[in-house]
């Protein structure tokens, strides 16, 4: 309705029949409350703006005052000497980490979700798996780092290599992929499944031929968002030992330092030049993030239109 309850004028209505009830204070309370919660809502927005502004200005000052050349930045690897330090090795490592994380987490994650949504009987084992999933999602990321450190880096002797980092990240994002896949599977209407069963298909044929294709855009969206979460994760990589190399990783069995660990290295240095290198790195990291989120949103919109 055009006249909203709380915007309706009331102040000058002393003589009207309904205002033998004095509501001035009631409405003032409402206004004050609205003022407070609106200000609180804006706090988050202002902080986001400040954060982005801070990164952008430091990025800019890095270019102008500290002579950080973007060409050098993208073509050099990490270095202890500020004027030689670049981001190439970190970018390469992060991209490889994403690829291996995706390979490790996607199939197992989607498989788990299919089991839980399509096959799992409603029994104690299933409930245990579901409850455990919820708890895994609440485990701090640094603990996944410890797991990879003890089990893979030192336990089976992989060493602090990129693959160990990818395993930590894969275990970390697995619950996210499973939950988003479950949602995508649940969104596939039962009429589709029934149509397939009615032609004599088995469950597995139905899933492969009908359910998965229908759910795939949703699954992809969830997976990309999960990887976007993984690309910014720092603590597990530090635990795995990613801080201690400046060399570029050429494969999954090389030592590595990824974008977020490189940024941490720079941000923890006291010299202002390093702080601005960190800002430049963050700008690149955020660009990756926004691109991944953009793809996910594009997929989601396209998917929603199709349904």
């Amino acid at each position: 309705m055009s006249t909203d309850t709380d915007d309706a004028p009331f102040a000058e209505s002393e003589e009207t029949p309904f205002t033998d009830i004095d509501l001035g204070w009631e409405h003032r309370k409402n206004r004050i409350f609205l003022g407070i919660i609106f200000a609180a809502s804006m706090f988050g927005v202002v902080m986001l703006a400040l954060l982005l502004l801070d990164v952008v200005t430091d990025f800019y000052r890095g270019q102008t005052e500290f002579g950080i050349s973007l060409i050098d930045f993208f073509t050099r690897d990490g270095s202890r000497r500020q004027e030689l330090a670049g981001f190439r090795g970190a970018i390469v490592a992060s991209v490889m980490l994403m690829i291996f994380t995706a390979i490790l987490a996607f199939f197992v994650g989607v498989g788990s979700a299919i089991y839980l949504e399509e096959y799992a009987p409603d029994n104690r084992v299933t409930r245990l798996i579901e409850a455990n999933l919820a708890n895994l999602a609440g485990v701090p990321s640094i603990v996944y780092g410890l797991l990879a450190l003890a089990a893979f880096v030192n336990g089976i002797g992989l060493g602090p290599i990129l693959l160990a980092g990818a395993i930590a990240l894969a275990l970390l994002v697995m619950p996210i992929i499973i939950v988003s896949t479950q949602e995508a599977l649940r969104a596939v209407p039962d009429s589709m499944r029934n149509g397939s069963y009615a032609t004599g298909a088995t469950k597995w044929q139905t899933i492969r031929g009908v359910v998965l294709p229908a759910a795939m855009p949703g699954i992809m969206t969830g997976t990309i968002l999960a990887l976007a979460r993984a690309i910014g994760e720092t603590a597990p990589l530090i635990m795995v030992g990613a801080l201690f190399t400046n060399r570029i990783a050429w494969g999954p069995f090389d030592r590595f330092s990824a974008m977020p660990t490189q940024i941490y290295n720079w941000a923890a240095e006291p010299e202002p030049h390093f702080i601005h290198l960190a800002a430049t790195g963050i700008a690149v990291l955020l660009a990756f993030l926004f691109a991944m989120n953009g793809i996910a949103i594009y997929l989601r919109n396209k998917y929603e239109r199709d349904l």
């Binding site: 407070i36 089991y115 799992a120 088995t202 597995w204 201690f244």
Partner: protein, 330 residues
């Protein structure tokens, strides 16, 4: 299908037998996938307890089984009550209280930021905001939630601490603020957990049926009355769940607190002091392979185990809470 060519017994298998068999196989493989999540949890428990044992008892459980001698190197009393944390110092000291304090202080401080602001934001989004405002504010807060913690750490060390807190500490208290401060950690973790509180609380509030709101409006309630006396009480279990999640997240938060609050394990009442959280300690001692067998390495797992148990307790509390206080109107 078999029924057409092979009437009678066809419906019990026939040419479908292979398909049925591959369905069984698929089911087994998929179950295997799902068990990996359970294995992960078991592995976390095992790895943490096993390695923490070497910190407290001088040998891992696995080594004890192979006959390694057991001697208590660190007592639980010292660990939980000692006030000096320097496990690898020349004169070592194993009192974890300072880093436990760091973690709890930042968690409590962050809750003072995220809970009021997140709740207010949720009420605004769910009850007051026009659809146009809502459709902009919600994604903006989602961005806040999607920013990596390392970036928040940078924000703390490059902006909050030097630009906001530094001048305040100098002008009002005459304190020369260092690179790190407890207050900076509280603020930055508070900011990053606002979206958790606001989005989960808002979901809970939006789930309150309009019937209830209309019932109150029809009695001549203002929006303020409806928000505070109907919607908030009706959604309170979801709202509390969001608080628990935010607290749990703050406990396990690593990069932001490391870059914000620093590495000085000390118990202090001064918010401008540098402190060290449990996670910051772990970051400071991470050495990859080279440190295996040292006290440093073992202490990582002792602290990690404590951290894991703290967040696990929060998660279980959350589960219990959700079951105990199911929203009545559902």
């Amino acid at each position: 299908m078999s029924t057409e060519t092979d009437p009678g017994p066809g419906i019990t298998g026939g040419t479908a037998r292979d398909d049925i068999e591959s369905n069984r196989r698929a089911r087994r493989i998929l179950f295997g996938c799902a068990s990996i999540t359970v294995l992960t949890t078991l592995a976390i428990f095992f790895v943490l307890f096993d390695n923490a044992a070497s910190y407290f008892f001088g040998a891992r459980f696995t080594e004890m089984l192979m006959g390694a001698s057991v001697e208590q190197t660190v007592t639980f009393t010292e660990f939980f009550t000692g006030t000096r944390w320097a496990p690898s110092h020349a004169t070592p000291s194993h009192g974890a209280l300072p880093i436990i304090f760091g973690t709890l202080a930042i968690t409590v401080g962050a809750a003072f930021v995220s809970i009021p602001i997140g709740t207010a934001t949720a009420i605004y989004l769910s009850e007051y905001a026009s659809p146009a405002v809502r459709s902009k504010l919600k994604p903006t807060l989602e961005i806040l939630a999607g920013i990596p913690t390392i970036v928040y750490g940078y924000f703390a060390i490059a902006f909050i601490n030097p630009v906001i807190l530094g001048p305040i500490a100098g002008a009002l208290f005459g304190i020369n603020l260092g690179r790190y401060s407890l207050l900076s950690g509280m603020l930055v973790v508070g900011i990053m957990t606002i979206p958790m509180v606001s989005s989960i609380s808002e979901d809970a509030m939006s789930a309150v049926p309009d019937d209830l709101r209309n019932g109150a409006y029809a009695l001549g309630a203002t929006k303020y009355n409806v928000s505070t006396r109907i919607v908030l009480p009706a959604s309170i279990s979801g709202v509390f769940a969001s608080y628990i999640l935010a607290v749990s997240r703050a406990i396990g938060e690593t990069m932001a607190v490391t870059l914000a609050a620093g590495f000085n394990a000390n118990i202090t009442a001064n918010p401008f002091d540098e402190v060290m959280t449990m996670t910051a300690y772990m970051v400071s001692r991470a050495r990859g392979t080279s440190a295996v067998g040292t006290v440093d390495y073992q202490s990582l797992f002792a602290v990690g185990l404590l951290l894991f148990l703290m967040t696990l307790a929060m998660n279980l509390l959350n589960d219990w809470f959700k079951r105990r206080f199911q929203e009545e109107y559902r």
